[in-house]
């Protein structure tokens, strides 16, 4: 049962082959059994989950259910949950219980879904390995010496180990797609503004976007149907019509034009990864797609631009964590500067502090034009590159990550190499485009993801292509053997 997809579970629940309570108990047991090994949950809330499961069962019995009523899942611990701790992976918020639900949380609750717990993550979503969490690193279920990727590493690991059938993640520079790639699951980063950011603790407001982390594209479509849409509480959310994301899943991809950016396949790409992506693209060609080399000439500027914009916004977004109203406060502050310095000094981890300092620097008088303004200009160039490419092609394909899951501690003390591993994902965030990572193969028993990038609001098309790909491949069905 625990290897079932959302689609299968939905059917089983509707046909009353299993109750939500049984299902919830099953996954809760798995969470409790395996969390010690994987550390993918910060909070498991058994009582609330079971209570909600029973409510869901009642709704199913009364016929008041949606497709996802009664289905257990997990939230990344960046989404505020009313009455349940939301830590954002930080000591700063270890004691923080929000008095409100994020819009995404509210929507999934309204759909009758049952939250099992909150997943581990890089502190404030800053990291690509899940090693910056105050709650310790998450392990990759394919090999526990390896990282699961980040920042949504807890969600990726939990779904890969089938501790929950699906989870939410957030993606600021690749934080859904890269861990999805490293853990062998499907992760969709929607168009910026497609999913409300209200109640999602901000890292970099102009880049952050929540999305589903699932076993299949079909499952991602089901979750998108619940969470996508305009939210009047988020001014940056898009007033753009929302698709039924399952509607086009079974469309043929005959005639699809795929762009292959030469910058993604040039030197620097591991030849084993290149081979897997090329094979994946061949599968798509067999389904009737054609490929074309394209250029995204400003790709090499995306990392520097990202590491100016994201820290700049984070330095300001994280100013509210000052020890005054909520969160961590140092012991016995002797005066106001001491309260600020020690609360923030003790409450934030190293990577967060590094980014706050970079961000503060690039926004400072005399540096703003040279860094922040320049980075914004580069952002426009990157957006234009994609728009030019989409004149000729329908989607863009390439690798999600530069390699497979690296070893714990391997890059921890080399932030630049860690930052560079985001090369294929960050430009999508800078441009605000949707992109999906789907499992496409293995190297030495570690998964590799293929990334598909679409034009604005083309999530349906991405899910369609991914779903068609998953009809002819079974990479997404692989489960690490200890978790089968």
């Amino acid at each position: 049962m625990h290897q079932s997809t959302l689609t299968q579970l939905s059917t089983a629940l509707k046909e009353k082959k299993v109750s939500s309570e049984e299902l919830t108990q099953l996954y809760l047991d798995r969470c409790k059994n395996f969390n010690e090994a994987l550390n993918c949950f910060i909070t498991i809330n058994e009582d609330v989950a079971l209570e909600n499961a029973r409510t869901a069962d009642k709704k199913i019995a009364e016929g008041k259910n949606t497709d996802l009523t009664g289905i257990p899942f997990a939230h990344k611990d960046i989404f505020c949950t009313n009455g349940i701790k939301t830590s954002c992976g930080s000591k700063m918020l270890d004691n923080f219980i929000a008095p409100y639900d994020a819009t995404v949380v509210e929507k999934m609750n309204d759909a009758g879904m049952v939250m099992l717990g909150k997943t581990n993550m890089d502190e404030f979503a800053m990291g690509s390995s899940n090693e910056t969490s105050f709650y310790g690193p998450v392990k990759n279920p394919w090999d526990s010496d390896h990282v699961p990727g980040g920042s949504s590493g807890g969600s990726a690991s939990a779904v890969a180990a089938r501790l929950c059938p699906a989870a939410t993640g957030t993606d600021t520079g690749g934080s859904i797609r890269q861990p999805a790639s490293l853990c062998g699951i499907t992760g969709l980063k929607p168009t910026y503004g497609r999913v409300s950011r209200y109640g999602m603790i901000a890292f970099a407001s102009s880049l952050d976007q929540g999305g589903p982390m699932t076993q299949t594209a079909e499952d991602a479509a089901l979750i998108m149907n619940v969470i996508a849409g305009f939210d009047k509480r988020d001014s940056t959310s898009a007033e753009h019509p929302v698709d039924d994301y399952t509607f086009r899943l079974n469309d043929s991809i005959e005639g699809l034009k795929i762009g292959l950016p030469k910058e993604y396949f040039g030197e620097g790409l591991d030849s084993n990864i290149a081979k897997i992506i090329e094979d994946g693209i061949k599968e798509l060609e067999k389904l009737g797609a054609s490929c074309k080399e394209i250029e995204l000439p400003n790709t090499d500027l995306s990392i520097p631009a990202y590491y100016v914009v994201a820290p700049a916004e984070c330095s300001s977004n994280l100013s509210r964590f000052d020890g005054v109203r909520f969160g961590y406060r140092c012991e016995e502050p002797k005066d106001l500067p001491d309260l600020y310095c020690r609360s923030r000094g003790e409450g934030f981890g190293k990577e967060v502090k590094r980014r706050i300092m970079i961000g503060t620097y690039v926004l400072s008088a005399g540096y703003y034009d040279a860094y922040y303004l320049k980075a914004q200009q580069i952002r426009h160039l990157i957006r234009d590159d994609f728009q030019n490419a989409f004149k000729d092609v329908d989607v863009i394909a390439g690798p999600t990550a530069t390699g497979t899951a690296f070893k714990l501690n391997e890059k921890l003390n080399d932030p630049v190499s860690m930052y560079l591993s985001d090369i294929y994902t960050v430009s999508v965030n800078l441009a605000g485009l949707p992109a999906i990572s789907v499992p496409a193969g293995f190297i030495e028993n570690l998964p590799v993801g293929m990334q598909l990038i679409g034009n604005y609001f083309e999530e349906s098309r991405l899910l369609n292509i991914a779903h068609q790909y998953q009809q002819v491949t079974d990479w997404h069905k692989q489960v690490p053997k200890e978790y089968k």
Binding site: C80, G199, I201, S315, S316, L363, S364
Partner: protein, 482 residues
């Protein structure tokens, strides 16, 4: 050396929106601490600001009233600094592309001439909360009720040359925002306050001297005092051969002096950048047109109308249009007085204003309403009471004893115009004052005018003020001269 002063003002006016600028919390003043602060105002993690359309419209209204440009696109920016009453660690304000750009207003100088003062810009921003340093022992209390209250910051050009001009400018802006009903302008509650940038330079010099910024002044009187103190201080410093330090200074009204708060070097680097949580505001021409079509009559236009259609003096018109409420009171009073403008103006600028000032009251709280005053003026007009008795009637109305007619009735204040009754009083007084009559009759005519006052006084006294003074005068003259 002769010095010239250069002054620019930054006025913060609180907009009278129902809810806060970026949240749905109420803006009412005076609630228990922290009951009017929601998750957004508290800066809790994950919450997001949403712009209050009403605040945008009010800002546009102001822009149109000062004939300013309203740019098509306006941007909110974050001003980053740490302070306990600033919940997010940044204030959402505007930096580049404010909602209102260049405009101007006219102020009236003491010699009666007028001067145009440029307004550089006006931008929207959120207010911070309040730190309370008393009542918490060694700790500081934070009240976030005010956090997120919408402010319009109105920045002038450095066009003012003395404290009086600065006050006139501030009063004019105050009057405009009140006329537009975009702010209650309540200075005690901090809804209208200003920072003054002051510098001096040798007369004739083109470039400005080094300026200081006087912070958070919340009364017209303090603005004048603070600026005058600061001008003196700066001239003293310069005449001693020292230099002015560019700094922020605080005015202490108790000691009437300004004190250094922080120097330029200590100033914050606010790291302004566009707020990524808020999209740029697009202002459609249709919205501007809509707001324009509903603009109320502004002080200058009203004053002109008062002069032209009510034949008021410039001074009276200025006074009566200084506040919308006074102008409204005046017009209602004229209505009730059957169109009598001069007496209405006199009573409002005289007796009523004196009483209001004495009690420290606003005209809207006056116990004598415009209708009551108008009706009383009508009774002066139709000779039911004299102007002197009217003062008595007014006092009684002020003390809540009813309207003019019932007071006149109850107190028997109706003017005596019956000639025979007055004649009897006149005869009595003449009979009882032989010495004075003799003196009067022996005096040359030019002195008699003065001496008749005694007899008038006596007759009025006997009549308890009710005799028609004009008739008394005439009868006395007739009798004494015969």
């Amino acid at each position: 050396m002769e010095w010239e002063t250069v002054i620019g003002l930054e006025i913060h006016t609180q907009l009278a929106t129902e809810s806060k600028i970026f949240s749905g919390a109420a803006t009412a003043y005076g609630a228990e601490p922290n009951v009017q602060a929601c998750a957004v105002d508290l800066g809790l993690p994950g919450v997001l600001p949403v712009i209050n359309e009403q605040a945008i419209q009010m800002a546009i209204k102001f822009g149109l009233a000062i004939e300013a440009e309203i740019p098509e696109r306006s941007i909110f920016a974050r001003k980053n600094y740490f302070y306990p009453d600033l919940p997010k660690g940044y204030q959402i304000s505007q930096f580049e592309l404010p909602i209102v750009s260049k405009g101007h207003i006219d102020i009236q100088l003491e010699d009666g001439s007028s001067k145009t003062i440029g307004v550089t810009r006006a931008h929207l921003e959120e207010d911070a909360g309040k730190s309370m340093h008393e009542g918490f022992g060694k700790l500081t209390g934070i009240d976030l009720n005010r956090a997120g209250t919408p402010l319009l910051e109105i920045v002038s050009e450095p066009d003012m040359r003395n404290a009086k001009e600065a006050v006139a400018y501030m009063k004019k802006i105050h009057s405009i925002v009140r006329y537009l009903e975009i702010s209650d302008g309540n200075m005690q509650e901090g809804s209208f306050r200003c920072d003054a940038n002051v510098s001096v330079r040798p007369k004739g010099q083109d470039e400005f001297g080094t300026r200081t910024e006087l912070k958070n002044i919340n009364s017209f009187r303090f603005v004048e005092q603070a600026i005058n103190y600061e001008i003196e201080r700066q001239i003293d410093v310069l005449e001693e051969g020292s230099e002015i330090v560019q700094e922020t200074r605080l005015y202490d009204p108790n000691k009437n002096e300004t004190r250094s708060m922080r120097s330029k070097e200590e100033a914050n680097d606010y790291r302004y950048f566009p707020d990524p949580d808020l999209l740029p505001v697009q202002i459609e021409q249709s919205l501007i047109d809509e707001i324009k079509s509903h603009l109320p009559e502004l002080p200058d236009a009203k004053k002109q109308r008062f002069i032209e259609s009510f034949k008021l003096s410039d001074d009276d018109a200025t006074l009566l249009t200084s506040q919308k409420e006074i102008a409204d009171f005046f017009e209602a009073c004229v209505d009730a007085a059957g169109g009598e403008t001069k007496l209405s103006a006199n009573w409002i600028t005289g007796e009523l204003t004196a009483n209001l000032n004495k009690e420290n009251m606003d005209i809207t709280d006056s116990p004598v309403t415009a209708e009551m005053l108008g009706s009383m003026i009508k009774r002066i007009q139709d000779n039911t009471i004299s102007g002197k008795i009217a003062k008595q009637v007014f006092e009684a109305m002020w003390n809540g004893e009813g309207d003019a007619d019932s007071i006149i009735e109850n107190k028997g204040l109706k003017q005596v115009t019956d000639t025979s009754a007055i004649e009897k009083l006149v005869d009595d007084v003449i009979a009882n004052s032989p010495d004075q009559v003799k003196q009067y009759q022996e005096s040359p005519p030019e002195k008699q005018g003065k001496l008749i006052g005694y007899f008038v006084g006596q007759v009025m006294k006997q009549s308890q003020g009710k005799a028609n003074p004009k008739q008394v005068n005439e009868l006395l003259k007739q009798k004494l001269n015969s």
